[in-house]
């Protein structure tokens, strides 16, 4: 199947996930937020977060078990992976959202903050790739 069609199909699944979570529990399917609250151990009901996170792992583990699809490679060394992980964690924590929280849910909710966040992280990431691939 064409990669763009596959991407669209996957996108429809991700959108359904956001819709199901919102309509059932009023929560927003933002991975950095869900992960962050799980790490810090926020008060209040957290069962839904654990359930969502377990669900997120399931297709990956199953795909690996049945050998479906290729396992992606991480195109950098350990040092850079850890440094970038810290940046993504700190950055999405401060910005209160990532590609899912701002980029999908926030834009779907017509949030101005999310639009600004999405434009800023897209532009910065694009610039980073440009420097890495075409300048450095």
């Amino acid at each position: 199947m064409n990669t763009n069609l596959q991407a669209l199909a996957g996108g429809l699944l991700i959108g359904s996930a956001a819709a199901v979570l919102l309509l059932s529990s009023g929560r927003i399917a933002g991975i950095s937020g869900i992960l962050g609250r799980l790490v810090v151990g926020d008060a209040g009901p957290r069962g839904w977060r654990i359930a969502f996170f377990a669900g997120l792992l399931l297709p990956a583990v199953m795909a690996r078990a049945v050998g479906w699809g290729d396992v992606p490679t991480v195109p950098v060394g350990y040092g850079l992976a850890v440094a970038a992980g810290l940046m993504v964690g700190l950055g999405t924590g401060w910005a209160s959202g990532c590609t899912s929280g701002h980029g999908v849910c926030g834009l779907a909710n017509f949030s101005k903050r999310s639009l600004v966040a999405t434009l800023v992280f897209m532009a910065t990431a694009g610039l980073t790739v440009y420097v890495q691939r075409h300048v450095a």
Partner: protein, 193 residues
Amino acid sequence: MSPESPGRSEGEDRSAAAQTSSGEQAATILWALLAGVLFGAGLIVSGMSDPANVLGFLDVTGAWNPSLAFAMGGAILVAAPAFAWVRRHGRTLQGQPVRLPDRRHITAPLVLGSVLFGLGWGLVGLCPGPAVVVAAQGVPKACAFLIALALGLAVASFSARSRRTVDPRTVVARSCRRPLRRADPKDKKVVKN
């Protein structure tokens, strides 16, 4: 949940939980599990868990790969009607009250955090969702990335907590015409819009 997402305080959370029956709570958990499965499957099917596709999209001057735009567009297409419904009715399908994020101000943490996120995303091609999926596929470097990501989120959470005495939103917000002062609970209302 990120501060961006439902603006319910923990107190409200607890009272809402107290009102729900255990059956409803079990249903909520099952729906959340299904949402997670759909999300994880979507990331794999769309190819967005693969850093190569993400970096190919970000590399606009190279051999551009537009698939991320299709994935994001498809996701927004389905999510938007759900948000519109919840915004209009102010509740879940089961009738639980919902308050969607209503902060409007463009703040320094929002912009600077997004810059830092973009930098890390552009370096490796992994954002939080894909990091979880690729780590679950048993890629050691993705696991290292995910552990660092979790650490970063924890640090951001604690720094936001200690910063709360002087709310960063009051510093940047356009409505900030009064001098900075220590935030008290009443400030929340002032700052909100």
